[in-house]
């Protein structure tokens, strides 16, 4: 008897808000169908710490710091196909509204000069990833195979795109499921 190998899928949130993952969970009882078709590798929903060899990597959030870039490159190296999920991954999203401000001024204001800070100091421990000068969408750093826009994409849009991918098609969204907001 031939059993079809399950698709191995990793997911992560970079400069994201986890809203795309929540929207992913909004496919509700389709999740039961989905676990028949895929198994999860590294994901905020599993305990796996390092991404393994996967068929598909799903990434929400843009790139705002060095660790984001590191993880994105790891996903690109380990996943056959990469999906940019949501507005942030697709075009930087609302976090990219910081791009017209000077990074030093933002950090100064948040950690140093704002009223109510006891001993204002910009965090400088090497444990912390350094922020990038600007926020970038994923495709400016690695090749992205598919883009699913939306802030977040609806559960319906994510389910449609995933079923397209599992069936070996390029994901397509139409009127009602294609949204940028």
């Amino acid at each position: 008897m031939e059993t079809k190998r399950k698709l191995r899928v990793a997911t992560t949130s970079l400069a994201g808000c986890f809203g795309c993952h929540m929207s992913f969970l909004d496919i509700d009882e389709h999740l039961f169908e989905l676990v028949e078709l895929i198994e999860f590798d590294r994901s905020p929903l599993t305990d796996i710490k390092v991404v393994g060899d996967c068929d598909l990597g799903i990434i929400e959030g843009g790139l705002c710091n060095a660790e984001n870039v590191h993880i994105l490159r790891e996903f690109r190296a380990r996943c056959t196909k990469l999906v940019a999920l949501g507005a942030c991954a697709v075009n930087g999203g609302l976090p990219a509204q910081r791009n017209h401000l000077k990074l030093t001024e933002i950090l100064e204001e948040v950690y140093h000069t704002s009223p109510g800070l006891a001993h204002g100091l910009i965090p400088n421990d090497p444990e912390l990833p350094l922020p990038l000068n600007k926020v970038h969408p994923l495709h400016e750093v690695v090749k992205i195979d598919w883009f699913i826009p939306g802030c977040p994409p609806s559960g319906e849009a994510i389910w449609k795109a995933l079923t397209d991918i599992v069936a070996g098609r390029d994901p397509e969204l139409g009127f009602g499921t294609l949204h940028y907001d």
Partner: protein, 240 residues
């Protein structure tokens, strides 16, 4: 009204002096467009209305209809090119739809939906043009401007006020306000000016009017832009 041309294989009648897009719209045929508006002289800047006329690429908003033309519009090749034009417009500005008050009522966004744009594809420019919030009732966010010049034309031709203008060259071209100070508050703009209602994107906004329409009820939530006869070919003043 006996002369006709064909649009995607269908006969389209036209009157002398009509452009291809005018004749097409009168028959209810949608040709994608952003800078074209039937109440104004064509501008020819967005290039989305590009069709092939007897095999050659032409802007249907500036090309006069003549008898026997073979016009193609809804082809995969032309829609591919239109998608690329849309992607260029999206990366040249800051089109963060999730926080834009025009989302759902925006022609740029709705046209991109219609043409199935999944990603802006190119590297982003992230322009940094300060907003003009000087006017008590009107906000200008120049980072969303697609330089269609509809506000320029409306202010000049209908309002007779010359409040807006395009200035600069190349990628430095931008919308400016015609006042010595450059501020909207220092113009004679008025709330019932035509210029305020023609912006197809989220540049010219009425203050304290954002997010008034529930999601699902906005213009392009209810029907795709190709099915929204937003501009009647005859002068009418229905605007969402």
């Amino acid at each position: 009204m006996s002369a006709t041309f064909t649009l995607d294989g269908k006969e389209v009648p036209f009157r002398d002096g009509q452009t291809i897009i005018q004749a097409a719209q009168e028959q209810g045929a949608w040709i994608p467009h952003l800078c074209y508006h039937p109440e104004f002289k064509p501008h020819g800047s967005c290039k989305l209305c590009t069709v092939t006329v007897n095999g050659r690429h032409m802007a249907s908003c500036t090309t006069q209809a003549t008898a026997g033309q073979v016009v193609e519009s809804n082809t995969e090749a032309l829609n591919d090119e239109r998608r690329t034009l849309l992607q260029m417009l999206f990366v040249e500005g800051n089109h963060f739809c999730p926080s834009c008050e025009k989302s759902g009522n925006c022609k740029l966004q709705a046209t991109a939906y219609e043409l199935g744009m999944m990603t802006p594809h190119f590297d982003h420019f992230y322009p940094s043009r300060p907003v003009d919030a000087s006017h008590p009732e009107i906000l200008l966010d120049f980072n969303r401007c697609i330089l269609c010049s509809l506000c320029v034309r409306a202010s000049r031709d209908v309002d007779k006020k010359f409040v807006f203008a395009l200035s600069g060259r190349g990628i430095g071209t931008k919308l400016i306000v015609n006042a010595a100070s450059g501020r909207l508050a220092d113009t004679n703009v008025a709330m019932d000016d035509k210029a305020l209602e023609v912006c197809p994107v989220g540049v010219i906004l009425r203050k304290r009017h954002g997010f008034a329409v529930p999601i699902g009820e906005r213009t392009y939530d209810k029907a795709p832009i190709s099915e929204c006869p937003d501009y009647s070919p005859l002068p009418a003043k229905e605007e969402a």
